[in-house]
Amino acid sequence: MSEQLTPLHGNHACALGAIAAGCRFFGGYPITPSSEIAERMSRELPKVGGVFIQMEDEIASMAAIIGASMGGTRSMTATSGPGFSLMQENLGYAAIAEVPCVIINVMRGGPSTGMPTRPAQGDILQARWGTHGDHPIIVLTPASVQEVYDETIRAFELAEKLRVPVVVMYDQIIAHLLEGVKMRDADAPLVERKWAGSEADYKPFATGDDLVPAMARPGDGHRVHTTGLTHNEAGFPTQHPETVDRVTRRLLDKLDRHRAEIEKFEAVDTDDADILVVTFGISARAARRAVRIARAEGIKAGLFRPLTMWPFPEEALRAAAKGAKAVLVPEMNAGQLSWQLERVLRDGTPIVSQGKIDGQPITPDEIVARLREIRGS
């Protein structure tokens, strides 16, 4: 195994991670600051016998990757804010039809066209609830180029294993950051989707204890119907209340059942922390340094950083926040994560939101200043 690091931009690391994870189809539409992913994929995919296509818009891109995945190919798209908004309808389709796929959202300032070349972290609630109705989704939030590479691979593994759309979200800074990346071995084993066998009584949406149905590959003889309508275990539309409740709850329970392998987080100095800093992505890099500075000043600060944003690692956060007298949430939005923490930490611990929405990254000094303020109060 090579320990050598390859210098890569975040977006290139994402593309190479996807290739390493077995991605063989990319459908996308150019949008700053994600376009380098599409550009790299257009060069890499033919080399491995995969297909790249630039679709007519993000709606079509999302549809195309679902189509490819239904055909049995690992597939991905990449976009940013406005494009992510356009993908929401078909994201819901992937969720209900349980089609594995990976969506990269390189966040930029919003709303609307916002600031295409400036970073932001304002899509975390959209990523969870952007498409209508109750649905399962996994959202991963890497904070370094290495993590972009690794989490993109993990996104494919989770998507394939659990038959769920997985969103990988980072921001413009990480996208264009050059860092050394330890690449995976080319012959590393891939996680395979659970495929239907030749069973005579096969039902496309019936599951065992793992709540993940085996997927029929077109051409394997099962001739299955796939629909975005609420469907029974046989795959056909239904409005029968008991069936609808059963199949929809199974869809939501599916991720709960696998929480342990989905959830990923980093906890630094949380055991004795008076003030817990909770943040993710690029802001977590500033927070990590801020915590060190604060500790040197005698402020007992700790850092909790979710790498899995959804489903949120709730138990882990509660454990990390156990002794904390306050929680500080620096994030590049107007308080989306802190809003979420208010739901998770219902023990009265004060939650201080440090939302920044000026298109500039949060600096360690800014976080240290807030930590000092909190200690003073």
Binding site: R24, F25, G27, R43, P46, K47, V48, G49, V51, I53, M55, E56, D57, I59, A60, S61, A63, A64, I65, I66, G67, A68, S69, M70, G71, G72, T73, S75, E89, N90, Y93, A216, P218, G219, D220, G221, R223, V224, H225, T226, T227, G228, L229, F236, P237
Partner: protein
């Protein structure tokens, strides 16, 4: 390249539609006299005569009455989102060139919400067939105006009559570069079957417009009679005439031409993509 099992003169035996239906779902949900059923029969008949294996047939549909048609076919069927079936099918066909991909869509699905996907699918020329069932109305949602609703016709959103010009879908498809374009009425069922057959066998993007009838909603609202009368009047409106210059007549004239309007030998997208030097086969 498409490996449709279309051996010339293949002996496929007499056509029995029950062999191609999901019998457990029959009778289907369509209203009495809905032309979509006739179109579905023509499609399955064509599939049978082409000798396409059901396992290798993928039917992708959108939303609306047309979108629900696919579910009755005993094949790999994908009921996708409104207006997007062509985009889904694009991904599916590129990932699985071994499948014969047929998209069933409606006039609203193809021309309004899915208009962008339609023109680009025509331009790209990926090997698949779009069957656009044109009943001139949004039937599933209760009869609203569509891009093909004839002028002056009443719908629930044109209470005093439609004032918008009518898309000529075949001209749109031809102008966008579809390498096979044709139109037929349901009354001419064997001709429709033959048209669909040609379209599926064509290597490239095929656009087939089927003039269907919506009796329950559109026909009733506009006093067009029951389905037999509607089907016959469609025929009376048809003229197997020259297609003419697209630019001469961007909107649909009262008299519709039927037949094959374009049959071009253009490079097929998937084959071109896979032929690039960098592409690793196998």
């Amino acid at each position: 390249m498409n490996e449709v099992a279309t051996v010339a003169g293949a002996e496929t035996g007499p056509f029995e539609i029950r062999d191609y239906l999901r019998l457990e779902l029959m009778p289907h949900f369509m209203c009495p006299g809905c032309g979509h059923g006739i179109a579905l029969r023509a499609l399955l008949w064509a599939v049978h005569e082409l000798g396409i294996e059901k396992d290798k047939l993928a039917v992708v549909s959108g939303i609306g009455c047309s979108g629900r048609v696919g579910a009755y076919i005993d094949a790999n069927t994908f009921h996708t989102t409104h207006g997007r079936p062509l985009a889904f099918a694009t991904g599916l066909k590129l990932a699985r060139p071994d499948l014969t991909v047929v998209v069933i869509s409606g006039d609203g699905d193809s021309l309004a919400i899915g208009g962008n996907h339609l023109i680009h699918a025509c331009r790209r020329n990926l090997d698949m067939t779009l069957l656009m069932l044109n009943n001139e109305v949004y039937g599933m949602t209760g009869g609203q105006v569509s891009p093909t609703t004839s002028e002056h016709r009443l719908t629930t959103t044109t209470p005093t009559g439609n004032v918008e010009p009518v898309f000529d879908a075949c001209r749109l498809a031809a102008a966008s570069g579809a390498s096979f374009v044709g139109r037929e009425v349901t009354l001419q069922a064997p001709a429709l079957k033959n048209l669909v057959k040609k379209a599926i066998a064509h290597n490239g993007f095929s656009f087939v417009e089927v003039m269907s009838d919506c009796t329950e909603i559109y026909g009733r609202k506009n006093d067009l009679g029951e389905s037999p009368e509607m089907i016959l009047s469609q025929k009376a409106d048809m003229r197997p005439e020259a297609f003419g210059n697209v630019a001469d007549q961007p909107f649909r004239p009262h008299r519709l031409a039927t037949g094959v309007f374009a049959e071009l030998d253009r490079p097929e997208y998937g084959a071109v993509y896979r032929a690039q030097p960098a592409f690793r086969k196998g």
